[in-house]
Amino acid sequence: MSSATTPPDSDPTGRRRVHSMLKLYYGLNEEGTAAEQAESLDPCDINGPHFDPEVYLNKLRKDCSLCELMDHESCMVKQIRSLDSDMQTLVYENYNKFISATDTIRKMKNDFKKMEDEMDCLSANMAAITEFSARISGTLQDQHAQITKLSGVHTLLRKLQFLFELPARLNKCLELQAYAQAVSAHRRARCVLQQYSHMPSFRGIQDDCHVIMEQLAQQLRQKFRDGGSSAKDLSECVELLLQLDEPAEELCDKFLSHAQSRLEADLQGLEFIDRGCNEFVSSLCLVIASYQELFINRPQEGELASKNIPEMANGKLHVFVDTLAARYFSLVERRIQEEKGVGDNSLLVRALDRFHRRLQAITKLLPGSAVPSHGTEIVVRAARERIKQYLSALQTFYHDSLTDVRQALAAPRLAVGGASASGELLTSLSNFILNQLKSVLASVHLFTAKDITFSNKPYFKGEFCSQGVREGLVVSFIKFICQSSRQYCESAGDRGGSTPPALLLLLSRLCLDYETSTISYILTLTDEQFLVQHHTPVTPVTALCAEAREAAQKLLNHYVKVQGLIISQMLRKSVETRDWVNTIEPRNVRAVMKRVVEDTTSIDVQVGLLYEEGVRKAHSSDSSKRTFSVYSSSRQQIRYAPSYTPSAPMDTNLLSNIHKLFSERIDIFSPVEFNKVSVLTGIIKISLKTFLECVRIRTFGRYGLQQIQVDCHYLQMYLWRFVSDENLVHFLLDEIVGSAAHRCLDPSPMEQSVIEVICERG
């Protein structure tokens, strides 16, 4: 191309300029209007529209040197040439295109002419076809009408045939008990028959059908009423009857009454929860399900929709379920109440669980029903009842163990080491009780096991644990132990005949052990096992401990009293029945005193097995001797003084009163501490005080007094070691001898040495 000759610097702009100029020429100046305007104003711009050759020449001439002009000229020539060649090329191209276009147009003209001819031919053919077609249809019209009419008649005839055959068919269905078919057939014919019932023949058919359907309905009802049919059959029946326009309400009633009779038959034989769950509840569920299927959930169509059946049906269902469930529950409850044996709780819990689980099914089927909550109540009641039974079982167990202990205490008394058994008995008794309690707790714990459905009910989470198990069972049992222990103190009577003293002692120790450790252990165990959350105030451990301690104290006091009275009785009889005025000179310690010492020793052993030694006041290694001399030589002599010096009758009382002034008052039947020494002190106090009081109402002869002296000395020798404060024994014995001396007609005391000899001889 010539344009290639254009100087390389102007190439991009030059090309563009060409385009733009062409565009300008063809009126397409949408591009670069702004740029043109900037250029256009310059008349010296050779490409601009306002180019003025004169101005341009003048300018060139003015501005440029000759040489420059020459260069400019040659450049300009070169440009002109290239423009020319461009122009020629364009013209040539355009010309070629024009030629080919002319050729194409000419060819088209020829083709169209041919086409026009063919179109004419086509239209002529079409016209011929139309004509033929019109002619054909004209000829076939009559026959078509006839055929249509014939087919109409045919269907009508078929329908009529169906109608005429209907009674027979229904009968056949009836025979075959194909009720469903019969009902559907009848349903199809029913409208037609209704419509044409004014025509006698149809009327006849309709009547026939009615009769048959009546029969059918009758049969269905019969079947319905028949007890034997299953729930499924029954529901089928109901469905058919419903389609037969039977009144829905009546049907509901009938359905339910029928179901009731069947379920009640179930209830008659209902013996175990297991069976109840399996048969009754599942049947009930089935009934509910099918009932809902039938009356409530079915898509409502036709006239049934308008009757608002679901609401009515639902109400009826609820009433029905409630009444049945109530009967069922009463049966279940009666059955549970019969469940008295406390051997295996897991069975009952499982049964209750199953019972509860099944009832949940009813919840799902019948969301608004109160049945499941009633069921839960039954479970709760059963659990409560169970706790009560366990409590009473524990109580009987406790009594039984006590009876065993009592026998054990009574039996080995014959053997030498009889008393040694009581420590073991205590251990075994308390272990027995604890184990029994633990096993009961374990049994009760089943109620709250995780896999039991009702265990997450609020009752079983809260009240059952705290009020039921903790309070109702554990606390009540502990209280019962204390209570029954206390009863031993009260009911036994004062002769102490009915309750062996050893049992009192053992129970006292048991209660004390409970106070110190067992109660808190049991309660902690319970709290841990049952995760008791105390919503309601519960009995605090301290209160129970206090109660146990009180019971222990009471038992021990009573023990002291009973033992003291046994010894007292011996002493009293021995003092009351003897003629002290005319007694002979003492040669021996009286047998009853030896018996007293023996008994005291055995009591000491008995108590020592269960209670700690306790604190006693320090005494010298040879207490008996020391104190003996005190009372017999120094004081006793002064006491006897009045008898020899009648002028000073006050001395006796004075001395005794001074002594009393400085000694503490002795409470005879006073509470004792939980240790051996205190218990023995109590018993000895009671015995000696009795001795004193008995001596005071007797009158003694000379030898009577001496016998008392001997007896007291003997008691002194052996009793001091048992008591916390030997001075107490001395004081009481002093009083006895002093009182005897007072009550003596001829008070001449025995020589101390003689007394000692007699006592040592035994």
Binding site: D494, V581, M650
Partner: protein
């Protein structure tokens, strides 16, 4: 009135003593009689006059040389006449006898004029008659017919009940009827009480643990409470205002209240003493006040409102209502009043064998312990006013 009006008054006897009685027929002076027990010296009867205004005691001593006194009882009709049970030793045998005595008429003036002389030169009781009982054994107690004319007494001797008629100014005693308690073992009456109810036709006795009621017309047993107490029954007393109510006490440290129509169970049981209870006495006017004495050296005054004849406190007439409306309101708030221990008196240091209300002043009582200490106390004034108002 002095500030320490409620403080006890203590009187000491030289001898040991068990027998105490109020002078029943004396309704003006507060007077108690105490009989001493001494085997070596002549026994005495101390007549204790309490001067309420000055809080002082005046004593007179009468000689009772027959023997040591175990029981003493004043005639309800004649304040100078009394009975004692005393032990007499003869031929190495000790026997408790009973006799009716008359106090010499001058004792009162004599004691006042020269109190110091009285002990040196005491007057002697005048013996009216013996309740001769050698056939029947030792006498436990002699009971005067309550509210009677001082002509009938009962003595309980071993297992016999002897009803005596006193004739010729009590100088002659004849047995009018007797009853004997038969049974296994050696039965012996320990205490008895002549009922003031039913025209004084009933007697109640205690032997061992049993309490028996007797009809004096037929001299036969009318009821028997076996095992009334666990141990020996020591004393009995009738409620002065409720004819079927009876209090008993004994060696089981208990005081029991009985309705003799329902003898299976005691109506009430008190267990306040820590040793045998030897004596129980109803207040003569306000039967809710009960006095007990025990060998634990204590005297306890109890307020047994619930089984008294005034279970709701003193009944105020309607007229008083307007005056005492505030009091009445308070009373109503307190109803029903609780049985309670009013006070425990610890003035004694030896066993208390006898307690007795004064015959003249219903708010005053005496108690006697073995060491010869007589203590006179009053019902706390607060309680007194609460009962009265």
């Amino acid at each position: 009135m002095k500030m320490d009006d409620d403080a006890p008054v203590i009187y000491g006897l030289e001898f040991q003593a068990r027998a105490l009685t109020a002078q029943t027929a004396e309704t003006d002076a507060i007077r108690f009689l105490v009989g001493t027990q001494s085997l070596k010296f002549d026994n005495q009867i101390h007549i204790i006059d309490f001067d309420d205004e000055n809080n002082m005691i005046n004593k007179s001593v009468l000689l009772h040389d027959a023997g040591e006194i175990w029981h003493i009882s004043g005639s309800p009709a004649d304040k100078a006449v009394l009975t004692t049970c005393y032990s007499k030793t003869s031929e190495n045998r000790v026997l408790t006898c009973a006799a009716v005595w008359r106090m010499p008429p001058e004792w009162e003036s004599g004691s006042h004029e020269s109190p110091d002389d009285s002990s040196n030169n005491p007057q002697t009781l005048e013996l009216l008659c013996h309740l001769d009982n050698t056939a029947h054994g030792s006498v436990a107690c002699v009971l005067w017919e309550p509210l009677g004319d001082g002509k009938r007494v009962i003595s309980l001797a071993e297992n016999h009940v002897l009803l005596w008629d006193l004739q010729e100014s009590s100088t002659k005693a004849t047995i009018s009827s007797t009853a004997t308690l038969e049974g296994k073992g050696q039965l012996k009456f320990t205490a008895g009480k002549w009922s003031p109810h039913h025209n004084s036709t009933q007697l109640v006795t205690a032997n061992d643990t049993a309490i028996r009621g007797w009809d004096l017309r037929s001299m036969s047993q009318i009821y028997c409470i076996e095992n009334a107490h666990g141990q020996l029954v020591r004393d009995l007393d009738f409620n002065p205002n409720k004819q079927y109510y009876l209090a008993s006490c004994g060696d089981d440290c208990k005081v029991k209240f009985w309705d003799v129509r329902h003898i299976n169970e005691p109506v009430k049981c008190l267990e306040e003493h820590s040793h045998w209870v030897w004596s129980v006495r109803y207040n003569h006017s306000h039967d809710q006040l009960l006095l007990t004495g025990s060998s634990d050296s204590r005297v306890i005054l109890s307020n047994m409102v619930s089984i008294s004849s005034e279970p709701f406190g003193h009944l105020v007439d309607d007229d008083d209502l307007s005056d005492n409306e505030e009091n009445q309101q308070e009373d109503k708030g307190k109803e029903p009043l609780q049985d309670s221990i009013i006070a425990t008196y610890e003035e004694h240091e030896d066993s208390v064998y006898a307690v007795e209300w004064s015959a003249a002043d219903p708010w005053l009582f005496a108690s006697l312990s073995y060491d010869g200490r007589l203590v006179i106390n009053r019902v706390p004034r607060a309680l007194k006013y609460r009962i009265l108002l």
